[in-house]
């Protein structure tokens, strides 16, 4: 079982540790509800060092990246990032990742922890035709600390004595605090404003402690993977392995916008074009429970006694105190306002398809 460099600190904060794809990770420190609300109202700090990280460098780096992702990296400026699926030849989703353009010929992929090994095998295979390119697994060398919430940027400023408001969403910058170098990226998986900080693993604990020390009086607390999941679900960010896998294409999910057919070529393009022309049979939708039931992964979705799909993610939403979920249903039923039933154990519970996301932060000018 692997530990992140922040393991000891999690124990100090009384985290309940669980095994998460070969890592011992904090699921919660206090209560998932409190941690969820803290991030919505103030700010929380997350250890997401378990995420996989690959560095892709060399003259062929951009062409390789363009070939393996469905989104378009050609338009990225240096120090800009984007979200994209990696697809196989059939258009099935191998993983969903963040691509950072570090400089003209260096990219960084942040991938799902559960897929790190699988992605590495796949990418190594795809990299064969590219002579002038290096693919390196830097997972263990780099930690990631996420600072998320409406107060996150203010706390970042308190800590680093620098205002990062100039960073637009999905942009990042290098920063030095004495000898400590880091990358500050205005990204996140909570639906809240905030940053993700990439730092050398040997310095991660120092930075983590510094954030907590400087901002504890302002209410900053560590937040575990339990609330990370409820936050991402409320914001309708998909979770690999739950909402999508290799049997699902991006066109059937909420991320069809990440497929850029204008690009010359990319793995899966032909299959996806075919699917686009024929129309998709299934769609991911968001729904809200009308009674107290709580939907969970794999529960059947019913309509007039017929099964029309399955719940892909479900939870109790701490913000509204209602059950919410994402489900994969037949495309004809994928309409907001549609009444459906979720089968919870032996009973059918009323639910309604709603517009996604469930939560959108107020945009500040």
């Amino acid at each position: 079982m692997k530990k992140t460099p922040l393991y000891e600190s999690h124990l100090k904060y009384h985290a309940k540790m669980v095994s998460f794809h070969n890592y011992l990770m904090p699921i919660q420190y206090d209560s998932i509800i409190n941690e969820h609300l803290l991030v919505r109202k103030n700010a929380g700090i997350f250890d997401i060092s378990h995420m996989g990280k690959f560095e892709i460098s060399g003259d062929d780096a951009l062409s390789f990246v363009q070939q393996v992702i469905t989104n378009d990296a050609a338009s990225l400026s240096e120090k800009q990032a984007l979200y994209s699926p990696l697809c196989n030849e059939k258009g099935g989703i191998i993983d969903d990742i963040i691509v950072y353009k570090m400089n003209r010929n260096t990219f960084l992929f942040i991938v799902n922890c559960a897929n790190t090994e699988k992605d590495l095998v796949w990418l190594t295979e795809q990299a064969k035709p590219y002579r002038s390119m290096k693919l390196k697994n830097v997972t263990d060398e780099m930690s990631i600390i996420a600072l998320q919430g409406p107060s996150a940027l203010q706390m970042l400023k308190n800590t680093l004595e620098t205002d990062f408001k100039y960073l637009k969403r999905f942009c990042f910058d290098d920063f030095f605090l004495d000898d400590l170098s880091m990358i500050i990226s205005r990204t996140g998986y909570t639906g809240e404003d905030g940053v993700e900080i990439l730092v050398d693993a040997t310095y991660a604990l120092r930075l983590w402690d510094l954030f907590l020390k400087k901002n504890e009086a302002k209410g900053l607390r560590p937040v575990g993977l339990g609330a990370r999941n409820t936050l991402r679900l409320e914001a309708c960010f998909l979770l690999y392995g739950n909402d999508m896998d290799e049997t699902v294409t991006p066109l059937e999910t909420l991320i069809d916008w990440t497929v850029k057919f204008d690009k010359d070529s990319f793995v899966g393009k032909e299959s996806l074009l075919e699917q686009k022309a024929g129309g998709v049979k299934h769609k991911i939708i968001g729904f809200e429970m009308l009674d107290q039931g709580i939907p969970r992964h794999d529960y059947p979705v019913m309509k007039k006694g017929e099964k029309i799909g399955k719940v892909t993610s479900g939870t109790f939403n701490p913000t509204t105190r209602k059950g919410i979920g994402l489900a994969r249903v037949t495309a004809q039923h994928a309409m907001a306002g549609e009444e459906i039933q979720i089968q919870i154990r032996d009973n059918y519970h009323e639910a309604r398809i709603v517009k996604t996301p469930f939560y959108k932060r107020e945009s500040k000018k």
Binding site: I27, S31, I32, I33, Q292, G293, I294, F316, R345
Partner: protein
């Protein structure tokens, strides 16, 4: 660990309290509610249902997942705690009091010999 002396227990973290005659009240232990945390939903059986010792009889859900609660004894459900429907957090706040689940009229008093004393329960949950 809060394990009241006047109750009996199961290895699966339910408690049993004798009320009168063959009627018992059941719920989950302080240790169980602490493990679950944030209880947000409870599904109870209907009154009159026959329960079998060791078989699932109720479901509690935390934010994270759903968990089965097992009948500590066989018998018929005579009463359920309706308050849990609106206020499932009572199980976290007061697991041995307001957080009770249901009453059972037990059908096989011999089963009482198989449930744990406070001392046995403490030993069992500490060795987990």
């Amino acid at each position: 660990m809060n394990i009241p002396d006047e109750l009996q227990y199961t290895k699966t973290h339910e408690w049993v309290k004798k009320i009168n005659g063959n009627e018992v009240s059941i719920g989950i232990t302080d240790h169980a509610q602490h493990q679950l945390q944030d209880i947000v939903y409870v599904e109870l059986p209907s009154i009159g249902r026959e329960l079998k010792m060791g078989a699932p009889c109720a479901v509690v859900e935390s934010v994270k997942a759903a968990y089965d609660i097992y009948a500590p004894l066989s018998g018929k459900v005579t009463k359920i705690n309706q308050e849990l429907r609106e206020s499932p957090q009572l199980i976290n706040e007061d697991p041995y009091g307001k957080g009770w689940f249901l009453h059972i009229e037990i059908s096989n008093p011999n089963e009482l010999a198989d449930i744990l004393s406070p001392g046995q329960y403490r030993a069992a949950s500490e060795s987990e």
